[in-house]
Assembly symmetry: C2
Homo-oligomer: 348 residues x 2
């Protein structure tokens, strides 16, 4: 036998399976997973290929965490806050109420302790996690009636889940778990008063403006929402070092693709929604303050109950509180002024 050259050993043929929570009906999310697979294949000269399955095909949408952990698939795309019921600490990998915006989240993951801490959270689940994008700030959902005060939230049957549902229940909302396909009929027949989904680009597909026209902002439970790549720890350890690097490179590449997709296309989706009847409303400050205070109550309870939650909370919120003044000063004043200048120009 002839010894294979060293480079051939470094560059072996490997085929993986990947399960996503999402499907082609959510093009930015599913499309970013496709970009990840494509870049891995291209940059390995076709040697490392990953076959992507949409949610429900080999694994249920919300079964991705377990399926990667037990290597039903080698890797997966999901958002960790779906697994809030297993461990609320997982939410810090996606979004928590009144948390970091997308740039601050990237900074915490890359330069702060975010990635290190989240790797500790995922390790017992046999997963090596990588950030793979963000939706940016989401909307606060669709409502059949206006929300003018905290009293208007009392008894509101709202489709929402996880951590947001827990906080909203403290201000009187009755959270409901309803699959996307059932949202429209539930609103139509009055079994539901409100729905939070994502933002204009994804929400547009559900036509909710026809049955719940008040579209509120901002989604304070998702100031940003990070999407993750999960890799089975054994599958990862078996990769040659150069393919491990490719995973880091391609997940970040696809992740930026996801955020720019939302950042570039939400604006026009929102315009179309408004043209077809959506009425934009800002949550009143009184309502936001009540939700903020309710969130602090929930945080205090979780911090007392779950030591790992507290460890990540302290680090995450410390980073937020230290970083926000700078963002307000430079980015905030720039964005505000430019918006003002463009409005002034329009009036001239």
């Amino acid at each position: 036998a002839i010894a294979a050259p060293a480079m051939a050993q470094q560059n072996p043929k490997i085929s993986w399976k990947m399960a996503s929570t999402y499907g082609p009906n959510l093009p930015p999310l599913f499309g970013s997973a496709e970009v990840f697979c494509k870049m891995i294949e291209e940059a390995s000269g076709g040697q490392f290929t990953i076959r992507l399955y949409p949610g429900g095909e080999v694994v249920p949408g919300f079964g991705v965490l377990d399926a990667v952990g037990n290597r039903t698939v080698d890797c997966g795309q999901s958002a960790s806050y779906y697994y809030y019921g297993k461990d609320p600490t997982l939410c810090f990998d996606t979004a928590v109420p009144f948390g970091l915006n997308a740039r601050q989240m990237n900074a915490w993951m890359d330069q702060g302790d975010g990635l290190k801490l989240m790797r500790e959270v995922f390790a017992p689940r046999h997963i090596v996690n990588f950030p793979m994008g963000n939706t940016g700030t989401q909307m606060g959902g669709w409502y059949r009636k206006e929300i003018k005060s905290v009293a208007d939230l009392k008894g509101l049957k709202m489709r929402t889940a996880g951590f947001a549902g827990e906080v909203l229940s403290r201000v009187g909302v009755i959270p409901q778990q309803i699959s996307p396909g059932d949202i429209y009929p539930s609103l139509e027949k009055g079994a539901l008063d409100a729905v939070e989904f994502v933002g204009p680009l994804d929400d547009e597909k559900l036509s909710l403006q026809r049955v719940a026209k008040y579209y509120y902002y901002p989604g304070w439970w998702e100031g940003s929402a990070q999407v993750s790549l999960y890799v089975n720890e054994k599958a990862y350890a078996e990769l040659p070092k150069q393919y491990q690097s490719l995973i880091a490179l391609a997940s970040r590449y696809a992740g930026q693709q996801l955020l720019t997709d939302y950042d570039a296309h939400n604006a026009n989706a929102l315009r179309r929604l408004v043209a077809s009847g959506a009425e934009l409303r800002a949550f009143p400050v009184e309502v936001l303050d009540a939700c903020y205070d309710a969130a602090q109550e929930v945080y205090a309870e979780f911090n007392a109950k779950y030591p790992q939650f507290k460890k990540v909370y302290d680090n995450y919120m410390g980073f937020r509180d230290q970083t926000i003044p700078w963002f307000r000063l430079a980015e905030g004043s720039y964005d505000s002024y430019l918006n003002r200048a463009l409005n002034r120009a329009k009036q001239q």
Copy 2:
């Protein structure tokens, strides 16, 4: 002879030279170029290596554009607005007055027509360009006296250059080209009244608060500033497809590293500057309005004079004007509310 396996041909040994405009005295910028080279090497299994030279070593700092174009080096790291004198259209690759913020810039480059248009601008210079990070919104510089009105700008000797200098000259500033090493002595002896450099993390090294303590925000000529990777077109064409993919992956990876470095570390640098005497000031709206109007004048002149400038300007500003309302609605209202909530929490 034994035929080499296909994978060995795809994965040949290649060594490149890279020149940066920057050096180790600007750790975020130079460090991100180091990350680019490291990731290329790792993900190619050590087969594709790039040797990085700091500004001035094989090529002068502002000679990177030409050196890549004529293949003195195979690739380079620079910011395209340094080459304003060669072609003002190059500024759209970095920053223009009252332009896009960092997320909007990424969105324009990736999802809008930004990359396509800038590739057209670089093609006659024999360069294939890739975005490689951003500084975020910069500061408006250091001033020996407060700027309370447009009159305070008249006759101000300010270190600034390029497009910003052109606009500032219309409101009475006298732009000065001064190398970083001469800034401090020039301010000290009164030959200079003001200086714009970058932001807290880089500015800190110059100790300007000792001689020009008023530190203004925001830097409206750099709402964000994109850094670029230049690759010689022939060097790029000679690469196997998989290494071309690595260039796209690693430049985006290093680019995010650069932005998160500033986003995570500017806050504490600013705190240290304030502790050692810097006095923060916002530019008065009257001053910003005058500068905005001056910028429109310059834009109108350049649009009339340079057809390619106008082509890129229309596309870039169209993207800005279409996108900003969405950013104000979701991100803007979220960031504003959270800042308010944190201040309220502090007062309790």
